[in-house]
Symmetry: D2
Subunit: 349 residues, 4 copies
C-alpha cells in the first residue's frame, strides 16, 4: 500500500484526512463481532442512545438515523417531508442551491433562493420571498426552510436568530431543517449560545455531520417523531442504507461517548482562529468573520500563485485586484504546519 504525504499542506477542506485514530481503533476492536445490518446493529443502537442523551431528548420526541453522506442526508430529509408540489427555501449561498448537482430537484422539488445576510436566512428576507408567492396554484408552495449551521461562509446562528427564524417558520406553516455538516464547529465556536436541545425545540429536522468532524463517513439525522414515520424506507430507497451499518454506529459511539466530537471541533476552530488572526495582522481582508473553521481571505491576486506553491486551497471568487480564497481547518490540522504557514505569510507581504 502506497503511503504518501501530499504536499504542499492542504487547507482545501475538512475531509482531507481519514478518521480520528480512536475511531479506527474502535472499528478494529468491534470488527469480528457478528451484527445484523441495515441500521439494527448494536453499535448503531448505542450511538442512538448516546446521541439522545447528548441532545437531551427521548425516543418519543425524535428518531435518529445514519446516512453515509451530507447530500444523502439533505435529499432524504427533504424528500421525506414534502409533498410533490412543495418547495424549499434556501439562502443564495446555501449548499443545496448549487453544490449538490441538483439532488433536491432530482427528488422533484423546487429550491427557491432567498437573499442571505452573512450567509444566514433572516426572518425578514424569508418573509419578503414568501409574500411574493401569490399566484395560486401556479407557484410551487414554500414549505421547508433549509439552513446550514455553521453556514457555507463559516458564520453561525445565535440562539436568538434561530428562535426568531423558527417562530417565523411556524407562523407561516414552514418546516425548518438544519444542515449540520459543520454543526460540531458551530456549537463549539466562541460566540455560540445554541445547544443541541435548542435544535430539537426549534427545528423539525437537523443532522450532525460526522464526515467533517473526524469520522470516515456518516451523518446522524435527528427528525421529529411526527415526521419520522417510514424514514427507513426513504434511506433504503435512496441507496443510503448500508449493509454494514455498524461502520457509522461504531464511529458515532466513539465520537460522542466522552466528548471527542466537541474536542475535535474546538481544535479545528482554534486553528482557523490562528490563521485568521495572522491574516488580519498582515492587513488582508477577512471577507467573512471567522467564527468557525473556514477562513475567507481576499488575497492580492498577484500573490495567489505564490500561495498555491505553499498551501492548497480553493479560490472562491475573483474581485478587481484581489481573489477571495477559502482556507479550511479540521480536527486533523497540524498546529506546527499552521504556525509555519503563519510565519511564512509575514514574509511575503
Amino acid at each position: 500500500m502506497i503511503v504518501k504525504l501530499t504536499s504542499p499542506y492542504s487547507f482545501l477542506d475538512d475531509y482531507s484526512e481519514g478518521a480520528h485514530p480512536r475511531l479506527l481503533q474502535s472499528l478494529l476492536l468491534t470488527n469480528a463481532t457478528q451484527q445484523t445490518g441495515y441500521g439494527s446493529d448494536e453499535y448503531t443502537c448505542e450511538a442512538r442512545r448516546l446521541l439522545l442523551s447528548q441532545i437531551n431528548a427521548t425516543e418519543d420526541e425524535v428518531a435518529i438515523h445514519f446516512v453515509p453522506s451530507g447530500t444523502a442526508a439533505n435529499l432524504i430529509s427533504i424528500a421525506s417531508c414534502l409533498r410533490p408540489y412543495e418547495a424549499v427555501l434556501v439562502v443564495q449561498t446555501g449548499h443545496i442551491l448549487d453544490k449538490e448537482a441538483g439532488a433536491i430537484e432530482a427528488t422533484g422539488h423546487k429550491v427557491i433562493p432567498v437573499p442571505g445576510v452573512h450567509g444566514k436566512m433572516t426572518p425578514s428576507n424569508l418573509e419578503m420571498v414568501l409574500d411574493r408567492n401569490i399566484f395560486f396554484p401556479h407557484m410551487a408552495k414554500p414549505r421547508l426552510v433549509y439552513i446550514s449551521n455553521a453556514t457555507e461562509v463559516g458564520t453561525i446562528y445565535t440562539r436568538a436568530e434561530l428562535i426568531a427564524l423558527s417562530e417565523m417558520c411556524r407562523r407561516r406553516d414552514l418546516l425548518l431543517l438544519v444542515d449540520g455538516a459543520r454543526l460540531g464547529v458551530a456549537l463549539s465556536a466562541d460566540g455560540n449560545d445554541l445547544t443541541l436541545r435548542d435544535l430539537v425545540d426549534h427545528t423539525d429536522i437537523f443532522w450532525i455531520g460526522g464526515t467533517k468532524m473526524g469520522a470516515l463517513l456518516g451523518e446522524a439525522i435527528v427528525v421529529r417523531k411526527e415526521l419520522a414515520e417510514g424514514f427507513e424506507f426513504h434511506i433504503k430507497q435512496r441507496g443510503a442504507l448500508l449493509g454494514k451499518s455498524r461502520i457509522m454506529g461504531v464511529q458515532f459511539t466513539e465520537l460522542f461517548r466522552d466528548g471527542l466530537f466537541f474536542e475535535l471541533a474546538r481544535h479545528a476552530n482554534a486553528m482557523a482562529a490562528r490563521i485568521s488572526a495572522q491574516v488580519a495582522r498582515i492587513g488582508w481582508e477577512l471577507v467573512s468573520t471567522t467564527e468557525t473553521n473556514q477562513v475567507f481571505v481576499a488575497v492580492p491576486t498577484e500573490l495567489v500563485g505564490l500561495l498555491e506553491q505553499r498551501i492548497r486551497f480553493y479560490p472562491w471568487e475573483k474581485r478587481e485586484t484581489t481573489t477571495v480564497i477559502r482556507l479550511v481547518t479540521s480536527w486533523a490540522t497540524d498546529k506546527t504546519e499552521v504556525d509555519r504557514f503563519c510565519r511564512w505569510l509575514e514574509t511575503i507581504v
Copy 2:
C-alpha cells in the same frame, strides 16, 4: 466501546462482520495522508488501476466508479443510461424487483418482471416478454436487462449463458447490466467459466461488490466508456459521492492487489459447500443448487424452532410441511463453527 459476540452463530447474510483485517490495517496506515476527496484521491486512482488490470481493459474502454451501497450502484447505473420512458427487465426473483424499496421506480423507471429459470434470465423468456410489448406508445419501452451474478438464489451464469443473453440484448437493442454484489463468489465458484474480461465484452455495465466480500462498504461500477459521460454527476446527485472517497479506494486496492478478493470468495464458497453436503447427507432437500455462498434448504417445519436456537438465518418461504431457509456464508465464516453445526445437524434428524 462494547465488544460483544452475538450468539447463536449467524448465517443470516454475508455482511454480519466488519471488514477483513487487512483492509482495516490499510485504512490505518493511510489514515494520516492528506488527500483530495470525492473520488480523486490517490487510493481510488490506484484501485482503478488495479481493477483495470484485473478486468484486462483500458481507460478507453471502461470507466470505474465507487459507490457506498448496492442499491446506490443499481439505481445510479440504471438512471444513468435510460431515458424517462425506458424500462428495466428483471427476473421474478431479482433483487431490484422488490427488495430495494422501489429505488428504481423512484428514479422514474418501470421494472418489468420476466419468469426466471433457476434465478436466471433466459433469452427465450426475455423474448417472450418483449414480444408482448406491442402497444406503442402505451407501454414503457424495454431498454435494459438487469441480471445478478451470483443470482439471488445462489446460482451462477455460465459463459455460454451470458453470451447468449448478451446477443439477444444486442439483437433487441437492449443494454445489459450485471449486479455483482456477489460477483466474487460467482467468479470463484467451481462451475464458473466466466472472466471479468467477459463481462467487459458482453455487458454494458457491471459492478463488483465489496460490501459482501470483505470491505466495510463499497461497490465498484464498471461502465462502458460510451455510457460513462457525466457519471460523476449521477453519483453526486444521488448522494453517493463520499467526501472521503479514500475509504473505498484503500479497501479495493487491498482487495485486488494480490488476489485477496478471490481468496475470500473461495473460502465463502467452501463453507457453503460444506453445509450443503451435510444437508444432502441428512436427506433434506436443497431447493436451489449450491453453487456459491448461499444454501437454500427445505427444513421440516417442526424443526425450524430448534434450528433458530442453534443458528441465525432467514426463513425464505413456507411450504406444506417444510420451510425453506437461507444460510449464507462469507469470507469471515468460521470453519470450526461450520463443522460444529454440521455435526449438530446429524443429531437432530
Copy 3:
C-alpha cells in the same frame, strides 16, 4: 376542412367519434362569454354543483377537479396521496400496469401486480400479496389499491364486491382508487347495483370518465376532502390545468344536467349486448362476460382477416386456433351498422 368517413366501421374503441352534438352546441352557446381560467370559470363551478348533487355529497365531503385525460387523472390522483416509498397494487390486467408508458413510475412509485379474477381485485388475492411484504424496509410499502370500473375486460364490481374490498383496504391501511374511465357504462349495466354515493362511501378517490362517454375530453376526479389539500397544485404541476378550463366545465354540465351521461352509457351497453348475443348465437366463445361496452370474442384465427375487411377492432391475444378480439361500442355506435354486422356474422360461419 376534410370531412371523411373512415370505413370499414370501427369498433376499435369508445373514442373514435368526437363529442355528443349537445356538448358541442353548449360550447358554441357559451363560447363568447368571458371567463376566468384554470378551473375557476362558471361552467366548471356549475359542473361541480351538478356532480355533487349526482353523487349525493357535499363540498365538505369531497372535492371535484377536472383533467384532460385518463392518464393524467391516474397519475395525479396517485401522486397526490402517496409518500415516495409507497406503492400501488393493481390487478394483472389493470390499465396502469402496462398501458400508460410507465406514467405512475415516472412519478416515483412502484406498481405491484396482483392476480385478478375476471379482471377484478379480490380481497383474498390482495391479502396474499400483502402478506408477502415482510422485509421492512426493503420492500416498497403497499399503500393504494387501484381498480377500474368497468374493468379492462368489461366486467363490473357489484356493491358487495366493492364493499368487501374497501373493508379489506381499511383493515390494512390502504387507500382505494377507482379509475372510472368507463364508470358510465359500469353504473348503467344491467347487473349493476352500485351508486355514485357508494363510491363516495367506500373509496378514497374515484374519477368519472368523460372522454369515453361523449365528451371531447375531460375526466372528473372526486377526492375525499381529507386528501384534497393542494390538489390544484398537482394538476398544475403535471401540466393538466387547462387555461380554458371551461371546455371541461361546459361538457360535464351538459352531460349531467338531465341524465345524458347515463343515457349514452345505456346505448353503448345495449349495442355491445346486441353484438354479444349474436356472437353467442353463432357459437363463438365470449372470453369475458359482456357486462358493459366491451365484447371479447375468440374468433377462429382463419377468419380474422375476413373480419378485418368488414370492421375495425384490436386483436387482443393469440390462442391455439383462435384469436381473441376486442369490440368496443360507444354512445355513437350506430344501431344500423351493428345490425348489419350481426347479420353478416351469420353468413361467414
Copy 4:
C-alpha cells in the same frame, strides 16, 4: 345552460373566451367521422402537413406533436432531451421559473435563473452564469436554454438576437427551446423580422401556442428530428396524449389553413397598441415596451380601485406610489370595448 356575460370587461389574459367560431364550426363538421386516436387521426396528420408547410421544413428535419397545455409542452420538451443531471437556464421573469408549480423540477431538473434584459436572455448574461459553473461534479450541468417569444413582459426577440443567442448555445453545447405560448403575436408584431423557418434553423425545440391564439386548447411542439425519438412515449407518460387527439388536429388545421392564426394575432396586437397609445397619451408610464398583446402600465396606486370597477386585470407589482398592472388583449378583444375604455381613461386622469 347558463350563458352569462361577466362584467366588467376583462383584460385579464388571452384565454378568457372560448375558441374562434371557425374552429368550433370545424369541430362540428368533423364530429361524426370515425377516427383513430392518440395522435394518429386524419386531422392531426393534416395539421402536421400544414404546419410543416408554414415552417417551410420537411418531416426529415422536424417532428410535430400536439399537447393540451403550455405546461405540458414545456415539461415534456425539457424532460425529453435532458439527462438527469442536466439543468435549464431561464431569465428571472421566465414562465417556468416560478409560474408552473415546479413542473420542471418535478421531472427532476434544476432551473437556473439568469438576469434578463427586457425579459430576454442575452448571450452575455448567459455566459456570465455559465462561467460560474466551475465545481464539477457538484453543480448541475447547464444544458438547455429556455426562452419565450413573445416574452413574459410582452417583448419580442429580433432575428439578430435569436441568432446571437443560438450561436452562443452551440458554442457552449446548449440546446435552445422556445416557449411559443404567444408565438403568434410575436411573429405578427410590427417590429418582428423572425420567421418560423428561423426557429427551425436556430433552435432545437419550439412550440406554437394554440390556447392563447383562438383554440380551445392545444400547443404544437416542433422538435428537431435528432431529438424526437420516442417523443410519443413522453407525451403518453405525462398524461398529455389525448384519446380524441382530433380536437387539436381539427383546430390547428383551421388556424393554419388560410392564415387565420396570424390574422387573429394581428388583431390582438392592434388592440394592445391602441390601449398602449392611450396610456402614453394620458401620461402613465409603460413599464415594458408594448410590442405584442400585453400592456404593462404603472398606474397611480390610488386609482387602482377605480380601474378595478371598470375592467379586469392582474396587478403585477407594487411600487412606491404606483402599481404596475398588466392588460392583455386577444383575438377576441372587442374593439368597441377597447375604445370605450380608452375614452374612459381620459376622464379619470
